[in-house]
């Protein structure tokens, strides 16, 4: 909030009414800056590398659903609706992406090289494979930070 505006994480955690907690986050200004920067780079990159914006929002929605975070789900659902393409993860490509989302979120240790090869085989570029992996990992990060911020908010 070097510019005084709430970021995505403030909004998701509902910190508008909790100025103390929003201010606490600003004690870690570099974290706040590069967290919002990551959100921008992951969902609205200048070059999407073959992983489309609707695919990104739909994959994030799936992570939020797996982690049972209704606020995150609503966030990504709303962004997907705004793009006007509700079911971008159809067909073999979409199924392959969703399988990756599920495994990386719930059982990351079960990953194998065959999973990466399957994504490449489904037409994803190396750029898109890395973007998808960053996205899944980022939403997993988001859910943990949100849980911690809600805890601090509720315990204040």
């Amino acid at each position: 909030m070097s510019d005084g505006n709430p970021d995505v994480m403030d909004t998701l955690a509902g910190l508008a009414d909790v100025p103390g907690l929003a201010a606490l986050r600003r004690q870690r200004a570099e974290v706040v800056k590069h967290l919002q920067g990551s959100d921008d780079a992951i969902f609205a990159p200048a070059h999407h590398g073959g992983l489309t914006r609707p695919e990104r929002e739909a994959a994030a929605l799936r992570v939020a659903s797996l982690l049972r975070d209704p606020v995150l789900e609503e966030h990504y659902h709303r962004r997907l609706v705004a793009l006007g393409e509700m079911h971008p993860l159809n067909g073999a490509r979409g199924e392959c992406i969703l399988a990756h989302v599920d495994r990386v979120t719930m059982d990351p240790a079960d990953s194998t090289k065959a999973d990466i090869d399957a994504l490449l085989g489904a037409g994803l570029s190396p750029h898109a494979v890395v973007s998808l992996s960053q996205l899944i990992a980022y939403v997993n990060f988001q859910s943990r930070l949100l849980a911690g911020l809600r805890m601090l908010k509720g315990a204040a």
């Binding site: 907690l21 606490l24 986050r25 004690q27 870690r28 570099e30 974290v31 590069h34 967290l35 920067g37 990551s38 921008d40 780079a41 992951i42 990159p45 200048a46 070059h47 590398g49 982690l67 049972r68 975070d69 990756h100 495994r103 990386v104 979120t105 990351p108 240790a109 990953s111 194998t112 090289k113 999973d115 990466i116 090869d117 490449l120 570029s125 190396p126 750029h127 494979v129 890395v130 973007s131 992996s133 960053q134 899944i136 990992a137 980022y138 997993n140 990060f141 988001q142 859910s143 943990r144 930070l145 849980a147 911690g148 911020l149 809600r150 805890m151 601090l152 908010k153 509720g154 315990a155």
Partner: protein
Amino acid sequence: MTRVMRDFTQGELDWQPWLAPVDLDAATDAQRTALKITPSNRTVGAYSLVLAHDPEALEQRSPLYNAIMFGAKGLPRAERELSVVMASRINGCAYCASVHAKRFTELTKAPDVMARIQADGADAPLDPRQKAIVDYAAKLTRDPAAITPADAAPLRAQGLSGLEILDLTHAVAMFAWANRLMQTLGKATTPAREGNPL
């Protein structure tokens, strides 16, 4: 004991990518910027070269990681390392668990702590402050939806400030991210040597 731990702390772990890394000689300007390549610095590991396929994400993630793990004041660095060892063990990221166990022991000069965690995981006998940190890290890693305001109480009882709890949360969350990249874009290859904590 000290010798054994020193042996593992010097153990070089390797990481083999499952996706061809970016060829540094063919890297775009955006990739070189994200990798912080300069004429005097061309030392980049395979992991970073894989992430460089998406330079925009990498360029943000690297400083975010550094701010979370090395930011001044707040939660002592060793306790950040402790929390991410627990997160990495639960996620099953052998590479991350080993690297950060080593850092913890370097910072604390207390190899017995990682020895106990190696033996008993999240149930390891620890001092009360370390126990509170490890318990929170484990719960947040396993199931963030299960965290409630009551989970702050054990941390507060051990004297953690709001900033320290935020730092702890950032660290655990960062490894929900870092572990997943490491585990799904390649494979850790761990040398089977005596004293290796894995």
